[in-house]
């Protein structure tokens, strides 16, 4: 088991330069829209050819520009699940599944039958793709791929076009359908939840480059890079000045933080997840920041507070602009907006079951940064 990808490609102003290697069988690629993750998949599948690069699957060379090797997609034995499933519209379900198969009529028919049963498509064999529901289409698309037993299955944002309530169900179905599959699966997505749920190893991409790669859980726990932290959902960042091995000044938050652990010298930034704050009333504790409410938003199961950090004396206009930025909870895809600000609102998310304590005590005077949750980033 093993995958090696080194791809260089320039398209207009965009340049893709991706390299990663993995021994895992479930790999996720996380990145905002337009970061080049789909292009990377296409190069692996052979739909696009890199300007230069090497692609190896289980020691088989699919592409090596140095040696002039570039296998056609037909020869790569890779399954590609397209975002819109790309089922052939004029063919029945059974015909669609049959398209990837080789062999005699009987062999094909037997295999198609097996797939129909495995993917619970009985009774739909004669239907056209346009007559199926989204979930059924996904099953057909996957059956069509699994039928010819590819070495690698590539999933290109398979859930992004679905309704919320369907998404969860189909993700679970997909996990179950893939659970017996022995090959490598690569999932490309901009959703951290999907990636976390699915992948053992993770490649985080930004603007055509790999930001970081490693075990998914490790990256979520300690992203190390600011971009990785942002893409894994971290909302609060501050530039820092390292005072000594255990003290930093968080420039954007206007406070000093003291850490038990040794702070690496190359740390340039700290991050803190919006869920992780501990509210503190009246008396200041260690690593606390005084906050005042700037705005809030209520979601079905959580409440988001936008808080002014201490020392922030921004004008009203600035505040309005910020609120607009923060109102969109999906800051992740909005790129670098937070970077442009010298100081910024702190985002705190409180689950519904904890709202009680605000009703009793009012808004907290301080928020505490717990050391183990503080992300040291470069």
């Amino acid at each position: 088991m093993g995958l090696k990808v080194e791809v260089k490609k320039t398209i207009g102003d965009f340049s893709l330069d991706v390299r990663f290697q993995s021994e895992a069988s479930r790999i996720g690629i996380l990145g905002a829209s337009g970061c080049g993750k789909s292009m990377t998949l296409r190069c692996i599948a052979g739909i696009e050819s890199p300007d230069a690069g090497v692609i190896e699957v289980n020691e088989t060379i699919l592409c090596d520009s140095g040696r002039g090797i570039h296998l056609r997609p037909q020869k790569r034995n890779i399954g590609y699940l397209f975002q819109n499933y790309a089922l052939f519209p004029a063919m029945t379900v059974a015909k669609n599944i049959e398209m990837g198969l080789k062999g005699t009529k009987q062999e094909k028919a037997r295999r198609v039958g097996e797939m129909i049963r495995t993917f619970q498509l009985e009774g739909l064999e004669g239907r056209l793709p346009g007559e199926l529901s989204g979930g059924q289409q996904q099953r057909v698309a996957l059956a069509r791929i699994m039928a010819y037993e590819p070495d690698v299955i590539l999933l290109d944002e398979p859930f992004s076009a679905l309704d919320m309530f369907l998404k969860d169900q189909l993700q679970q179905e997909m996990m179950e359908m893939l659970s017996d599959y022995r090959g490598i699966v690569i999932l490309v997505s901009h959703s951290r939840d999907e990636i976390y749920r699915f992948s053992e190893e993770l490649v985080v991409m930004e603007q055509g480059r790999v930001v970081t790669a490693g075990r998914t859980r490790d990256i979520f726990a300690d992203p190390k890079k600011k971009e990785a932290a942002r893409l894994t959902g971290c909302k609060n960042f501050s530039r820092i000045r390292r005072l000594d091995g255990h003290h930093i000044e968080a420039l954007d938050w206007g406070i000093e933080l003291e850490l038990e652990r040794e702070i690496p010298e190359d740390t340039t930034c700290v991050g803190f997840r919006a869920h992780a704050f501990l509210p503190v009333w009246k008396e200041r504790r260690k690593n606390c920041i005084r906050v005042s409410l700037a705005g809030s938003a209520e979601l079905p199961f959580e409440k988001i507070f936008y808080l002014r950090p201490e020392g922030d004396t921004d004008s009203q206009a600035e505040e309005d602009r910020l609120q607009e930025v923060c109102r969109d909870k999906d800051i992740l895809s909005k790129g670098n907006m937070q970077d442009t600000k010298p100081s910024q609102k702190i985002c705190w998310i409180l689950q519904k079951d904890k709202w009680q304590m605000l009703e009793e005590n009012g808004m907290p005077d301080f928020l505490q940064f717990q050391e183990e949750q503080l992300l040291l980033l470069t």
């Binding site: 997609p73 397209f82 052939f88 519209p89 004029a90 063919m91 791929i145």
Partner: protein, 234 residues
């Protein structure tokens, strides 16, 4: 009314058969050439595409007599190509039924080519990528995936091509002439009898042409009907 019936009974049907035969052959040739050209032009780089597309569409836009003029220049037996065809292959184009077919094909071909190209360009490119990753050959992808997905455009292109080829007059009269029983198509027959002042015969042929043309259009609508059910009304 009696006079009409008499003429009808004694009618020389050869123009109908010549027209139908010409139409069918020209349509078959245009079908394959048009699809082939559509596929090639679609993939060409932008400038080349604009140029070649212009060249291929020209016969549709030009007066048919202009196309006829060029065809005559090309195939005349006093010209290199005409001489070559006649001396080496014993093929005569001018004043023959082959001339009818060539004239009709050149004039009607752009309709096939344009419709096919329009249909191909609308196709979801992921379908083709999917075919490739599934291991299908390019030929298989083209005939099993692309053509069926482009079916409405190809069907309407084919029928329009047939209708146009059937009614071709200008270029045909110049290249193939109007030899009764040989190159005399319906359109030429109508022009001829009107010159003779025989409006009754002309009327009968006009009725036949209208009937065929209308039948073709209705057939086309019915063929596309299945797809049209899904069209949003607004």
């Amino acid at each position: 009314m009696k006079a009409v019936w008499e003429i009808f009974n004694e009618l020389d049907w050869s123009p109908l058969w010549i027209s139908l035969k010409t139409g069918v052959v020209a349509t078959v040739i245009s079908f394959f050439l048009g699809i082939f050209a559509a596929k090639r032009v679609m993939r060409a780089p932008v400038r080349k595409k604009a140029f070649i597309d212009g060249l291929l569409t020209l016969p549709m836009v030009l007066p048919p007599t202009v196309a006829g003029f060029f065809l005559l220049l090309l195939f005349s037996r006093r010209r290199p190509l005409g001489i070559f065809l006649y001396e080496n292959l014993d093929i005569k184009v001018v004043q023959t039924w082959l001339g009818c077919v060539i004239a009709a094909t050149v004039i009607a071909f752009p309709l096939m080519y344009r419709n096919a190209r329009g249909a191909f360009e609308q196709i979801d490119v992921n379908l083709i990528y999917a075919g490739r990753t599934l291991g299908m050959s390019e030929m298989q992808i083209f005939w099993k995936v692309v053509v069926p997905a482009a079916r409405p455009g190809i069907v309407s292109g084919t029928i329009l091509t047939f209708a146009r080829a059937l009614g071709e007059y200008g270029a045909t009269s110049m290249l193939a002439g109007n030899i009764p029983g040989k190159t005399g198509t319906i359109s030429q027959k109508i022009a001829m009898v009107i010159q003779d002042g025989d409006y009754l015969t002309a009327g009968i042929w006009v009725a036949i042409v209208i009937f065929i043309a209308f039948a073709v259009i209705v057939f086309m609508n019915l063929a596309a009907g299945r797809k049209m059910k899904n069209v949003k009304k607004w």
